[in-house]
């Protein structure tokens, strides 16, 4: 201890304190304050950047969820539309089919009717012609037969007997 006190140099202590305190104030002003401020600023910037990145991530997630939902809705809507369209087309086809069938039936019926009509007309025509021919033949036959009175009489009788009313 005595040796320590003996070793103590006041001059060195004086210079050490002077230099150190001088350095302390100088560096506090020139170095430590700007360094610590700069580092703190940088740390805050990083913190902010991280926070905003986190926010962007959650935002992105929300957007993605939204997108998914919209897509799902769109898909459902599309499905509904498709189903509707299918239904409508089936209905249309059926209606068309029915209409076509009705038309065809109508045409067929009309054709049948006209055939019937034509047939009847043809039959009538045939009947008329047959009648005319018959009358002509009969006229000629009669003209031949009716040369004498007796024969005429016989014939009339016979004809009258033969005629059968239909």
């Amino acid at each position: 201890m005595e040796k320590l006190i003996e070793e103590f140099s006041f001059g060195l202590f004086f210079w050490q304190t002077l230099l150190f305190v001088g350095l302390l104030f100088l560096l506090a002003k020139v170095a430590w304050k700007p360094i610590l401020t700069a580092v703190e600023e940088r740390e805050n910037t990083i913190k902010d950047a991280l926070a905003s990145a986190e926010k962007a991530k959650t935002d992105m997630e929300a957007v993605q969820a939204d997108n998914k939902r919209i897509l799902k809705e769109a898909r459902a809507e599309r499905d509904a539309l498709l189903a509707d369209a299918k239904k409508a087309s089936t209905q249309m086809i059926n209606e068309a089919k029915e209409a076509a069938k009705a038309e065809a039936d109508k045409i067929a019926a009309a054709a049948q009717a006209s055939i019937e009509q034509e047939k009847n007309a043809a039959i009538n025509e045939l009947k008329n012609q047959v009648a005319t021919l018959s009358i002509d033949i009969a006229q000629k036959v009669l003209q031949g037969e009716l040369a004498d009175e007796k024969k005429q009489q016989a014939l009339v009788e016979k004809l009258v007997n033969d005629i059968e009313i239909k």
């Binding site: 060195l12 230099l19 700007p34 360094i35 610590l36 940088r42």
Partner: protein, 369 residues
Amino acid sequence: MNSYTTILQKIQKTTVLFALFFTSFSLANTKEETKSGDLKTEIKEYIAHHLQDAYDFSLFSYTNDKGEHVYIGAPLPIILWDNGLKVFSSSKFHHGESVAEVDGNYYAIYHNKIYKTDANGTISYDDEHHPTNAKPLDFSITKSVVSMMIVVLIMFLLFRNLAQSYQKNGGIATGVGRFFEPIVLYVRDDIARPNIGEKKYKKYMSFLLTVFFFIWFLNILGLTPLGVNVTGNIAVTFGLALLTFLITNLTGTKDYWLHIFDPLGSSMAWYAKVPLYIILIPIEVLGVFIKPFSLLIRLYANMQAGHIVLMSLIGLMFIFKSWLGSPLSFGLAFAISLIEVLVALLQAYIFTMLSALYFGFAAEEHEHH
């Protein structure tokens, strides 16, 4: 950087070895004729001399053919206050070998202190062999002061440069600052913040950072072959610890003083506290002084011890003078010097850490229970 320091250290150690080797060679030549035991005394004296501050900055010395000591280095200014300011070069002392005459006054160096003497440099002693000569107030720029000036300059340039690099480079350090920035942050995040607390740590940061780098750089400088031993000097560590002491007590809160003078608080009736406080308060008050005192002794003793061990191991080489012993003590000296690099950092850390701890005590404000 660490490996870099180690390599540097290695180179420096080799240099110091060579210096010592040549010095002792010439010493050995002259002494061998007298006594063989003198080498040990010589080394002991050399170590004791190295551990002390010096009035000149000598790198090494040798004895020339004429038997004169030749010193390689530079003289430093001597500043004395002895009925007026006396400034002169330390070369006047011729390395303590002669008496310096200034304005009709005579001064001599005895045991590394300047005394006022007569023209012949007579020193008178008292019964306990202490000099009775007058001691002028000594403000000399010694080797330690020069070393501190170098460190102050290095720190100023280094950290001003770091501070400026933030502005130039958009908040990111460049160059050598990149190495020191994490250390600054370490002091802030692992020394100041946990010990002092988030609220108050900022006002102590300047001191903690300055003291950390100041001690560290001086410790490292002490490992160079320049042979300075600044942090192993009691006056320097006393100055540093005194500042810690002053800052602690000047920034002490009400709670801090209450803790010293009323440690038990309202947990006990006053008549019960009185007998306890007769013992407790002196202990607490003593603690206020012991804390910084331990700081100054710890740093001083550690650095001093490191230098003694290292120098002794180097000195051993010249005592062994054998092919086996010398490499062995070289290996040991090398290993110890590696440990000293660690100790240099560790002691700076411990000083800063404990200062922060004491500031934490001073700054504490807790809820009253």
